[in-house]
Symmetry: C4
Subunit: 192 residues, 4 copies
Amino acid sequence: MTKGRLEAFSDGVLAIIITIMVLEIKVPHGDSEFKALIPLLPIFFSYLLSFIYLAIYWNNHHHLLHSAVKVSGGIMWANMHLLFWLSLLPFVTGWMGENDFAPNTLFLYGIVLLMSAAAYFILQNLIIKKNGKNSKLSDAIGKDIKGKISLVLYVIAISVAFFSPMISGIIYASVAIIWMIPDKRLERLFED
Amino acid sequence: MTKGRLEAFSDGVLAIIITIMVLEIKVPHGDSEFKALIPLLPIFFSYLLSFIYLAIYWNNHHHLLHSAVKVSGGIMWANMHLLFWLSLLPFVTGWMGENDFAPNTLFLYGIVLLMSAAAYFILQNLIIKKNGKNSKLSDAIGKDIKGKISLVLYVIAISVAFFSPMISGIIYASVAIIWMIPDKRLERLFED
Amino acid sequence: MTKGRLEAFSDGVLAIIITIMVLEIKVPHGDSEFKALIPLLPIFFSYLLSFIYLAIYWNNHHHLLHSAVKVSGGIMWANMHLLFWLSLLPFVTGWMGENDFAPNTLFLYGIVLLMSAAAYFILQNLIIKKNGKNSKLSDAIGKDIKGKISLVLYVIAISVAFFSPMISGIIYASVAIIWMIPDKRLERLFED
Amino acid sequence: MTKGRLEAFSDGVLAIIITIMVLEIKVPHGDSEFKALIPLLPIFFSYLLSFIYLAIYWNNHHHLLHSAVKVSGGIMWANMHLLFWLSLLPFVTGWMGENDFAPNTLFLYGIVLLMSAAAYFILQNLIIKKNGKNSKLSDAIGKDIKGKISLVLYVIAISVAFFSPMISGIIYASVAIIWMIPDKRLERLFED
């Protein structure tokens, strides 16, 4: 019941974040030439990347909360904390896209991804703690290698943003691809 | 349960897409003459067309998921893929409306409709596969003639956009009308 | 189940419409004087009026669908039709507010209210038809005097908009007040 | 059932309010220097403050409605009244942030917080009245000292806004912190 409303609110916020990002792709006024769209391409690709990230977050959030039985005040705040960082994604996505993946923008994009990942990590740990360390959920997540590798990769990408923006961008895309591969651990638990 | 949240998230995204499109109809500032609204008419009509398309997608999506019993990670990603293409609809709708249905804009609008239809097709097939080829859903959808005709019509409309924008526009409107006629196949299944 | 998703989608659209209207009240840039807010007052009042109208629609829509047992494809389209007209409310609200309740804007505002009311009327009749003319819902709505009076009042307000904008505005406010008084008929049914 | 839809609509509106606020943090166009972000810092902090306030409202609203058994027409309108004031939060947040926490903007921000708190107070009382003065909910809320202190603090902050904007801002932040500490009273009830 209560979990249901937490899910519903999170769904609402995630749905809005994922959709308002597209508002950054501004319609070129009074110009129907295809070349009017060329300056929009970096914005489109930054949108695509962030769309995938938000889809991953929704997917994992969905599995995580599905497995939870009990919800506490702390879990609610940890969830809000995650939503806060994700809500900044449209801004950094827009800034990155409008400046053609400039180093500073890749740096800030990485910071928001890192903070979101950290917020997710906190939420996950609180849910495991509340639902018992020997719960199915705890077993399913295990050592959370994927989660930890992501954090390390974000830190690397942020660090190299000023020296090699391209490598930084490739790392962000790679982390997204790693996570798009469905999380068998949670999915297995979830089908039982 | 899980299906419920997939539906809720999709509802959220579709509701936002259908509503933010109207933000493209910009309020004329400091002008209360009716003639200030005339330049907005093409935007209004492109909005109307896209509203109908999104209503159709919501309707069919609703029936499709209602019939599904099992949901997999693949289905979730196929659903996200569909939502991605539909999320681009406000942009192409705005571009088309602001440029008075110019050929290039009709072309791009068709591409987004075609990709959305293809994404829906993939989602539908994954759901049938997951729920059994002999399931009620599979019987109900059958050969999906309407779906296949739509794909062909989109391709035709896209192809002729540069030669005869009017025919292209008429085809988009016709496909919408074809789908507004309720899908008896699914509705029948759905009432059982 | 199916009704649930129709309600969820409608809730989503209504929630977005009611909230994006406030985006028309543009933050005055670089001016913290109170007098910078004065030009926003008509926009604020038009927002307040439309907020109340949308709250009324949500309230009545909620009762109407709560009472319905069966939902058909026709009902879904009638619902989409209603949402379409209501989705135009932010535009006409903004136009009216930004032009200080000019006659033309009051006229158009009334047209959208009238079309919304007509769409609601169609939806209501389809639901009664589907659920039986002798159903509790049918009894509860009865002759729907309030609904019919509203339609007449909208027509009067639209007609006088060009001659006496003030009377027109007073009528819109009055209809809102009439509906804010809770609908005992439906509420009674609803508590049984 | 009915309560469920009231919650769903409120969740939708709150999710949208919390997310569209971030649209006020406008992406700096064609400037990837970090110093382009400096003018956005006050907007960022005003966003953070309002995000926390809305999270608190969602949290408390969630507990309040969870505890309610019966919902009336009056409760629905009291809920709409609360949502109305909260819907003005993005505007006053943007005005405050864009004017570097100028006295006038702190004053207006406080007015909206005060009106929201008053609206919440009315909603709470109506729910207690409807669900019985001796209900668990009534016991849990008790004398609502936190709620009353907040009202007083808002009045003080509003009063001193013109003399000492800093104190005013500190009070708003303090009230937020007071409420972030989970409400044991309701949470206890809620776990039974």
